[in-house]
Symmetry: C2
């Protein structure tokens, strides 16, 4: 085994999985980290469209950015380098052509550092690359850097990108709930929020209530079975008090039999990671309310803006997202082994919110899902506890005046 610390060579950074409003902030942090460590990291390339950019030798040489450019990049949503959803084959199997291609590109450019910004599927890629690198004895530091609006990554207090998405959901829910107050006719508004397997983002819908503001009256997470009878009963009960009822539901809520509530309205298609394509939990509940109560009802899907509404970034999230990218580079220099690592947040047990950035092994995190613990969900499954909201609250703090020109955001492009 070659020496594993402070390798001399070039770096590649890439982005993978669904974009977020903060994934470019992490990219900005990695770039800052690379240029701060130029004695070892002699240059940094961006791979276009995730690991595909390495496979296809589609790299962009990243030059030192000005502070203004960093700020622009940090307030640009989506993945500036592009993304992919590519699952690598088993590195111990026979089908290693793709690894040979990847490592030939690594060798061609003398790549000794690889930073992959992504969710749990992307950590799978880092873990597999690290197995293959050890197998062929190629000296490279492989680092995962987390991102996902779903906040469903194990081993970290929370994920970069979640805070901005949560701020978007909470703000929009407060605005929608206020919009719904204007009429005196009975109406139910059902808002569908992203989060296939974990309800963290849906839970954020409850935040305004901590400050006495109107928001969702009922909040349904995918962690507990959805009870249709109790749902109708609860709405009828609430309608005795006020005409405007607002409900937040995760796209992934399931019935007691384990089937998605949206099943009737969705296709059976699966994505390449085997995730079932689902849509329409709110539409399914809209039908249910129409049928069982017969009042006015509206389904609203928050949809893509949840992950790309950079105009409503959380300053805390963006600051942390930059820092975790920068720290990933620092850790990659000092890490004593070649196994894939991931930079993670640990929340300090202080009264005031504070986080520390540490590392974890990607193999312990890849392909796992961190669900909302049941203690954070009301016993009857129709809302979340204040404790859960207080866990999320620090992550949405602070506003960023994003750069604008002509009344529109200015976005960064490589």
């Amino acid at each position: 085994m070659t020496d594993t610390t402070r390798l001399n060579g070039y770096a590649i950074v890439a982005q993978s999985g669904g974009p977020t409003a903060a994934i470019n902030a992490t990219l900005s942090g990695v770039i800052r980290g690379a240029f701060d460590n130029y004695e070892y990291v002699r240059g940094i390339y961006g791979a276009r469209y995730g690991i595909s950019g390495v496979i296809n030798d589609d790299l962009v040489k990243i030059t030192k950015l000005s502070d203004k450019e960093h700020f622009l990049l940090e307030s640009t949503p989506s993945s500036a380098l592009g993304s992919c959803r590519l699952k690598l084959p088993d590195p111990d199997g026979d089908d290693v052509d793709i690894y040979e291609k990847i490592f030939s590109v690594f060798a061609k450019y003398n790549i000794r550092y690889f930073y992959y910004i992504g969710g749990n599927d992307s950590m799978d890629t880092v873990a597999k690359l690290s197995v293959y690198a050890q197998k062929i004895d190629y000296s490279i530091k492989l680092m995962g850097v987390p991102k996902t609006i779903d906040n469903d990554l194990m081993g970290t207090d929370h994920t970069p990108g979640f805070g901005s998405a949560a701020k978007y959901v909470a703000t929009t829910m407060q605005e929608i709930a206020r919009d719904c107050t204007v009429y005196t006719v009975k109406a139910v508004t059902i808002v569908e929020i992203m989060g296939r397997d974990a309800g963290w983002l849906t839970a954020a819908a409850g935040l305004p209530r901590l400050f006495g503001e109107r928001t969702a009256d009922l909040i349904y997470l995918p962690e507990v079975p959805f009870d249709a009878d109790l749902f109708i009963e609860k709405i009828k009960e609430l309608q005795k008090i006020r005409p405007d009822i607002v409900v937040a539901v995760s796209e992934g809520i399931k019935n007691a039999n384990g089937k998605y509530v949206s099943e009737g309205t969705s296709s059976d298609a699966v994505d390449i990671f085997g995730h079932k394509y689902i849509a329409g939990a709110a539409r399914a509940l809209e039908q249910l309310v129409k049928e069982k109560i017969g009042c006015k009802v509206r389904a609203v899907e928050l949809n893509l803006p949840q992950r790309c509404a950079a105009h409503l970034q959380s300053k805390t999230d963006i600051d942390e997202s930059v820092l975790i990218g920068k720290k990933a580079v620092d850790y990659s220099l000092t890490a004593e082994n070649m196994q894939g690592l991931l930079s993670v947040f640990r929340r300090l047990p202080d009264v005031n919110y504070q986080v520390k950035i540490q590392t974890a092994f990607v193999r312990d995190i890849a392909n796992k899902v961190s669900s909302v613990p049941l203690k954070y969900i009301e016993k009857d499954g129709t809302n979340v506890t204040d404790e859960l909201l207080e866990y999320i609250l620090p992550l949405i703090q602070g506003e960023i005046n994003i750069p604008t020109e002509n009344g529109l955001p200015v976005h960064f492009e490589f």
Copy 2:
């Protein structure tokens, strides 16, 4: 006929129709105007839930607000006084009970000024009240103050509320289009925008293109028939150049036979003004693309946030919305007749954007729709012209740092 100028008495202000992100700014302006003219307007009441609040004698006495309270009110979305969708009967018909009720409340509180903030349906209410007032010779100044995100009111250059909605649509479209760039697989994203009969708001989706930014490749307004074959042809053509195609469609697009494109997916329900309830133009096109092209396709409805996302207000819109409310009070004092008037914007023919506030008769505006002129739509109906975008552009200028606490907006309540 009694003397009609500078009546001494009290005022009522009310809000009607769908809420907007700027309707409270106009309310704030009316309140400012009333307190500025205290020699004549001896006090001002807010009617809760539009004209219903007068009918039900559900009034709130409005006290002088501090500057901070005015700012809070102006950055609060939705209708702070509540709203209604109530159509008054013919004032010349037999069914005048409701008018008797309204004017008895006017008399009870010595109401001599009435300000109704609303869209074309609300102007119908002002016009009818003015007919009835003349009939019973009750001295009152009845003023309409426009609002609608649809921008479909006759007699005014544009409507308060439209600029903020247009800024939301343009910003969100730019963010969505950027989100869509990240993958290399062919995908069509179809975004549905509000505007039943007029395509002004949908057109705003094109604004980012004026500055070389990605946004919708195709823009469909309800003013011209939707051609499904050409739509598919256009997408196939665009897919030769890039994998990510973004389409903006108005909820109200119709086929050549005059049927809503969404007809298959919507109910036949109508609201009390006889408007057909429609939903799902984007879903209908999603099915079409799936069938005819078979690539990845996603329907996104921007939905309620278009009208309530106050966190993305246009400063120009808010400033103008306050001013048109304030001016409505000024005009009501000096108007020489009792016929219902409306304050409107006239755009001055300068190079730099400038508006003047004037008055028009509500009877000339009520129940009419201002559509997008055909000269502003590309001949083949698949996009809008730059001239249309340049008409909209000044209305989205300027940002407002809305008041926040704990990472969330602070909203005003009476």
